[in-house]
């Protein structure tokens, strides 16, 4: 069934997985109505654990469940999933490579109304710094459904960050998700744009609008870790420069991860994302995105900047 909301896709998929595999268990911390853990709870009440407003306990309980052969998914807002339970995740789940799946819902700026306390701009940085951790950031609802199935299939700890709001799908429905494999959504040979999550759709729009000016390749990078280093290097081979776009702090997120991989490629990179600042409340998602420069206009500006810079350099040669 097609939907345009990552949370709903997540809830649907948990139910689908739960029907096939009774090892799937789901834990919520009083936010099941928002994370869509409630869909699983309604269908499989015995395999859903409401842990109350106690994320640390929820996370360690999930670790224990994993050690009895269950496949636990823990749900909360992204700020709490990683923020309140970081030590629990690090000490037992990541060090022990336990089979716990952690969902960071309402990530990025997507919880627009609640403001800085609830807008999570650092989760990819936090999770990516943990050895043994897989970090996923699907582009849309379609990809979320497949990514959640891939999480359940893989063995070991995995974090997935999801957006709160409805927006159009940019990836194909039902296309199997392969962890670690970036997808080229639009070919191009001058500037490569790596985008993740909500920003993928904006990157495609920006690239389309600039078509006559510059040839832009758009890559959906929905696995932040592990990153296929050889593939990422290969993808930028024919391009002069790189732009990254993420709904996350530019310090430590996907852009940083791509820059680490491309550190010896000697190609300029511009990071579109939250510029090391906390968020703010707004009445609409679009307002907060505009305010922090998470827009197709900002991606276009970055593409043009890198294009001009690299054109000058190549003409000087």
């Amino acid at each position: 069934m097609s939907c345009t909301n990552q949370r709903t896709a997540y809830g649907n998929t948990l139910v689908e997985l739960g029907e096939k595999d009774d090892r799937i268990v789901v834990l919520d911390a009083d936010l099941g109505g928002s994370t869509m853990g409630k869909m699983f709870e309604e269908k499989f009440p015995k395999r859903h654990f409401e842990m109350g407003i106690a994320e640390a306990n929820m996370t360690s309980v999930a670790a224990g469940l994993a050690q009895t052969g269950k496949i636990p998914f823990t749900n909360s807002f992204a700020v709490f999933s990683g923020g309140r339970a970081f030590d629990q995740i690090r000490q037992t789940i990541a060090i022990g490579k336990l089979n716990v799946k952690i969902c960071g819902s309402s990530s990025g700026m997507s919880d627009f109304g609640d403001g800085a306390t609830h807008q999570c701009i650092e989760d990819m940085a936090i999770f990516r710094a943990l050895p043994n951790m897989t970090v996923l950031c699907p582009a849309d609802a379609n990809e979320t459904a497949e990514a959640v199935k891939a999480m359940a299939r893989m063995k070991g700890p995995c974090y997935i960050r999801l957006n709160r709001n409805d927006y159009p799908n940019v990836t194909e429905e039902g296309k199997p998700f392969q962890i670690g494999v970036p997808a080229v959504l639009k070919e191009g040979n001058e500037i490569a744009v790596f985008a993740t999550g909500y920003m993928v759709g904006l990157a495609l729009e920006a690239a389309g609008e600039l078509e006559k000016e510059v040839s832009v390749k758009v890559i959906n990078i929905s696995t932040i870790k592990p990153m296929d280093e050889e593939r990422v290097k290969e993808l930028v081979k024919d391009c002069r420069g790189i732009v990254t776009a993420e709904e996350h702090n530019v310090k430590g997120g996907m852009g940083s991860a791509v820059a680490e991989v491309l550190r010896k490629e000697c190609k300029p990179i511009e990071f579109v994302g939250v510029q090391d600042t906390f968020g703010s409340s707004a009445h609409k998602y679009q307002e907060v995105l505009n305010y922090y420069g998470l827009t197709k206009e900002e991606i276009s500006r970055a593409i043009r900047e890198i294009n001009e810079l690299t054109k000058e350099r190549s003409s000087r040669k």
Binding site: T59, S60, Q67, T68, P72
Partner: protein, 274 residues
């Protein structure tokens, strides 16, 4: 169930033997958590050599009881119990904490057979144990999960999150044991962060509470057996103990929380732990 004198005596000897193993594995000139190991030794001996169903030849046996050392800093005590049970050679204990070795400073699930999950960041073991207890209930397994906590450790708020949740889920297959030795790393608990009445706290969360002398093997056994009979609520055994028990110069002395022994202390400790 009544047990013969010789049976009790043997368990007491095992408690003392574990303390001896701890001293042998710490050796001299390197710090080790001997204080809290010695306070917990009789409790751990009773679990591994009386109460728990476990199989050193098959540590992942489906039909086992589980033990979590929430006060993970006394890993050397658990290693001693595992070695004496036959999980790995006793001779290996003295290599604990050597770089790259399978016996780490804190319990490591991936490296050491018999470890159920990584612990040592305090306050988390009870929650992990609850998760195991819930998983075992889903599978309709009759086995139990035992979690050993320190009385300093329970200052961590997560302990009380777990206490609330275990009661809400009627986890009667979960048994917490609080080693109440009254000292923590930097001083007397009463002078650091007074935990007040531990039993009143657990009672108010809906637990079945048993208070015992944690060095009286008969009381330990009786409490562990009593926990088997409790339905619909988790059990906590609050064990009054002496930190550094069995080593005269270390008993009730804060600095032996993570203490270093010189040659003379080492010899004396081994002489006393017979």
């Amino acid at each position: 169930m009544e047990h013969g004198k010789e049976f009790i005596k043997n368990l007491e000897r095992m408690g003392q033997r574990l303390r001896r193993d701890v001293i042998l594995s710490i050796g001299t000139g390197v710090a080790g958590h001997l204080g809290g190991s010695c306070s917990s030794a009789d409790l751990v001996a009773a679990l591994y050599f009386y109460k728990m169903k476990h199989d050193p030849q098959n540590p992942q046996s489906e039909d086992r009881d589980r033990f979590l050392l929430s006060k993970g800093h006394v890993a050397i005590l658990q290693y001693a119990a595992l070695a004496e049970s036959g999980y790995f050679p006793v001779e290996d204990l003295k290599h604990t904490k050597e770089i790259g070795f399978y016996l780490q400073g804190h319990p490591d699930f991936l490296k050491t057979p018999g470890i159920e999950a990584g612990t040592g960041s305090l306050g988390q073991g009870l929650s992990i144990g609850l998760g195991m207890a819930l998983g075992m209930k889903l599978d309709e397994k009759e086995r139990k999960v035992y979690v050993l906590c320190g009385d300093g450790e329970i200052a961590e708020g997560q302990i009380w999150e777990a206490a609330m949740a275990a009661s809400a889920y009627k986890a009667d297959n979960l048994v917490a044991i609080v080693d109440q030795n009254h000292l923590q790393a930097n001083g007397r608990i009463k002078e650091r962060m007074d935990s007040g009445s531990i039993s009143a706290k657990f009672l108010s969360f809906g637990w079945h509470v048993i208070e015992i002398n944690g060095h009286d093997m008969k009381e330990i056994i009786r409490a562990l057996d009593e926990a088997d009979t409790i339905k619909g609520a988790p059990t906590v055994i609050i064990a009054e103990t002496v930190k550094g028990k069995g080593i005269s110069f270390a008993e009730n002395v804060v600095k032996f929380h993570n203490g270093m022994l010189n040659e003379e202390m080492y010899r004396q400790a081994l002489e006393e732990l017979i």
